[in-house]
């Protein structure tokens, strides 16, 4: 009888230890945040940070425009096979697609040289006195993640020094490594306004 009781106690103790270990490991898993690089909100946020940094460069005394470092940092966010799609401009009708590092480098370099004092900001929405930036995120069936945001863009034209405001939206697709595979930018040109000092 004593053996049966001691065996039962031993089994219960063993089961308790196993259960405790299992619950601890589950708790650790739950506490451990997802890899930051794969959170679409943070990836989108980083894109805006590096976009706004595209004006953070200097001209040498010899007149060289040193845009490469900020453009390189912007390009780090994109996969090798990424698409960057923007609105029409004075050089092209219809939407413009830049593909791969060299294509996107051209866009980023032109952008860096054309605009200064960049202020692209993800819009805040407020309901019930609770302001927040809304990131519309999803998981596509092919893997990775996708996100969209509304934003307000403010910049100064480098040449004529006019300060411009325009609302817009951006749609992102990321691969499993958190690199951008596609960005589509929409700028509401009908709502463009010059900011008067």
């Amino acid at each position: 009888m004593r053996n049966i009781v001691s065996n039962a106690v031993f089994c219960i103790a063993l089961f308790s230890i196993a259960l405790f270990s299992f619950s601890q490991s589950q708790a650790q898993k739950a506490d451990k945040p997802a890899a930051p690089a794969l959170q679409p909100e943070l990836l989108v946020d980083q894109w805006f940070i590096r976009l706004n940094a595209l004006d953070d460069w200097y001209i040498t005394v010899n007149g060289k425009e040193e845009t490469d470092p900020v453009v390189d940092r912007f390009l780090e966010l994109y996969s090798k096979d990424a698409f960057h799609e923007v609105q029409p401009n004075e050089n092209q009708l219809g939407h413009v697609i830049f593909h791969g590092p060299e294509g996107i480098r051209k866009w980023a370099t032109d952008f860096a040289k054309k605009y200064v004092q960049l202020g692209y900001r993800i819009d805040f929405m407020t309901r019930a006195e609770k302001p927040t930036q809304l990131f519309y995120t999803t998981r596509p069936p092919w893997g990775g993640s996708a996100a969209a945001v509304e934003f307000s863009a403010v910049w100064t034209n480098r040449e004529d020094r006019k300060r411009i405001f325009v609302p817009g939206s951006a749609f992102f697709m990321f691969d499993e490594a958190g690199k951008i595979t596609r960005v589509r930018l929409y700028m509401l040109k009908d709502e463009i306004e010059e900011i008067q000092p």
Binding site: Y58, G63, E65, V116, D160
Partner: protein, 106 residues
């Protein structure tokens, strides 16, 4: 650009001491230096920088003309206009680095 500050300081000193002939030379030198500044900014078509460079050239020309007329008051007024353009351009296109050197912003 490094010659601008000492020339500008000399101009002030010479105007204050009514040394108009030398002041006129300083003003002419400043005009030349800001012609170079205008040339620097021309390929970038940066309107405010070009406008500031042109404004300084005009003000320097006015200082020079007033100094030649020995009109101290008029020369001082034109001199002050130079300073305003300097500040405007530096606010927009000059950034001080941690080592106190300067870099040119686009």
């Amino acid at each position: 650009m490094k010659e601008v500050a000492p020339t500008y300081a000399n101009l002030k000193k010479n105007l204050d001491s009514s040394a108009f002939a030398v002041a006129a030379e300083d003003a002419a030198k400043l005009e030349g230096l800001f012609k170079e500044t205008e040339t620097f900014w021309t390929p970038f078509k940066t309107k405010d920088a070009l406008d500031f460079a042109k404004s300084v050239q005009l003000a320097a020309r006015n200082v020079s003309a007033a100094a030649k007329e020995m009109n101290g008051q008029k020369a001082q007024a034109a001199y002050n206009a130079i300073g305003k353009s300097c500040k405007g351009c530096h606010d927009s296109h000059r950034e001080t680095m941690p080592d106190k050197s300067f870099k040119i912003k686009p």
